[in-house]
Symmetry: D3
């Protein structure tokens, strides 16, 4: 009964965010299931699935946008993880955040780096 957009989106979400992305959507299931549906269908089925930008570039853009917004540490964590999944190196992620400093200021960039530090540490501890 799932739409084709949902199917495509779920596959893309799995590819990009891995188990963590699926778990965000599942955690919404018994509470606000349509929110999970829109994340899958729109953010991943419609947007992430587009051509014209590589997945690594998409993650670079996502990290910049989330760092600039501020207050989105949970989403940054998922998307920094996703950035590693799709092939960005740790140094590239740090470079993206440092590049944002002149535009968004040090505090928001430091917050983003703190999230990156935690994600990289977890990867190590996790045995990858």
């Amino acid at each position: 009964m799932e739409s084709k957009r949902y199917e495509i989106g779920l596959k893309k979400l799995q590819e990009v965010d891995g188990a963590e992305g699926i778990s965000v959507v599942e955690s919404l299931n018994d509470f606000a299931p349509d929110m999970g549906k829109y994340i899958v269908e729109f953010a991943f089925g419609d947007i992430y699935n587009r051509n014209g930008l590589s997945l690594t570039n998409r993650q670079a853009v996502t990290i910049a946008a989330l760092s600039a917004l501020g207050g989105c540490e949970k989403q940054l964590q998922i998307h920094i993880n996703a950035a590693l999944n799709v092939g960005l190196k740790q140094e590239e992620i740090i470079e993206i955040i440092i590049h944002c400093v002149p535009y968004i200021g040090f505090p928001k960039a430091l917050n983003a780096l703190s999230v990156a530090k935690e994600v990289f540490k977890d990867k190590k501890t996790g045995g990858e």
Copy 2:
């Protein structure tokens, strides 16, 4: 008497933002010259001059950050121009902004697209 960072930064500013970037710095000269100096030395001499990220990727990240901040239409105009200068295609710039929609919402993305539309039109009218 200019520092080496200033020299490097000015060259990079010229390369990235072209005449428009130089004109921003010059417009600050009789008013807040240190502001222009810091843009040249720090934003371009220190940050843009770093390795680890291509100039096209730096512009993609800049456009995402400025779109997410909101209210930075003047700077977006310069950096969308710069993005074309360093080799991003018009469709790629549109794609970067569309990719931001799920993170920053439609209104900020529409504002960024309006700026892009104006920049692209000026390029055309200008004979390119």
Copy 3:
């Protein structure tokens, strides 16, 4: 060849934003047509078309969110117009913005009121 979501969304956009909303989507057609498509399909076909909140309440929520974001005067203009279309009174729109003051501060609320003032004046001049 338009999807059902597009059809539903276009009808809803027409109902809520009227000619002005259609014109925003059309202005994207030769530049970033997918952006217009997503506004119609997702923002109006998926979200505005939901049950559980009246159209007047949806516009109240939209005005509050746009006022809080800041820098979205163009979108506020369209949605204050839309608020009148779906039946909110001018005093109610002012009341919504005044209610936001303790949360978003006076400057953003003043910006939103300026937009409202212009919209209300245009309505009058326009003969309504």
Copy 4:
């Protein structure tokens, strides 16, 4: 010795935010008592006490504004609680936040939904 605005505000604060609102004001008493006074007098005595918008609509507007600001999870918690106090249903609160997605993006909306989930869980555990 309390002003009439304070009295009116305190009564309104009690009505809207309940014990939790009172506790915020009290926690300011030995530290920045004027801040508590202004919350009571201005936010509740002046603004919440106005006519022209129902209390449920005021809470809908407040939730939208706080979600859009970002980084105001503590205040969202109090005002989602308050929304239940004045008669909004859980599904309506979720609907308000979902309605904000196209304007504020998924990350801020997800943060708001996380707060709502916690508040609703506490209500249940608390025996209501």
Copy 5:
């Protein structure tokens, strides 16, 4: 029939913002008069009238807050004018904005400097 807070606030508004501040309040009179009333009573009668911070320090803090918010150019214009009224020098205002750069980034600081440049130019043209 005006309250004492209104009287005090109006005097303070006159002292700080001068004719321009009065004109903002008056422009609200036929549209959203309570908004003007709250600006006078709360922002100026309650807050600006407090002890514990000099008027020049209050203006420095205001300029920093408005620059950081972004999108508040109209209010920045009034408060940079006010800063000159209460005795801050042009160089101090520029210094305040430059000091904000590491926290808020170059774009928002450049926007604030543009406003300052206009205000200073108007002062000159105006014969001061």
Copy 6:
């Protein structure tokens, strides 16, 4: 091998932020050392080291900017501490934040006051 800007900046960082500031920079050393370098060289060596504004005024401006940005509680904590280091009194810091209320709204100001409360408590417990 450290530049003169680094030396000047480190001395200023020590003077303003004390041990806590040094620890932020050190925590970046094994992860993103250039970020620490830029904080020292640019934020402290270039900006904080400027004339034209006293250190207490610089801290007032910093606290206002960080409160207005929102979501920068960690940086607020360091800079409220720094404000005490350079001679601002606790009541002055509270006054700065209360002054921001009309501009940034109650929620962001309450978040800033919460940080201040924690910092002041730690100072006391720490034996000062």
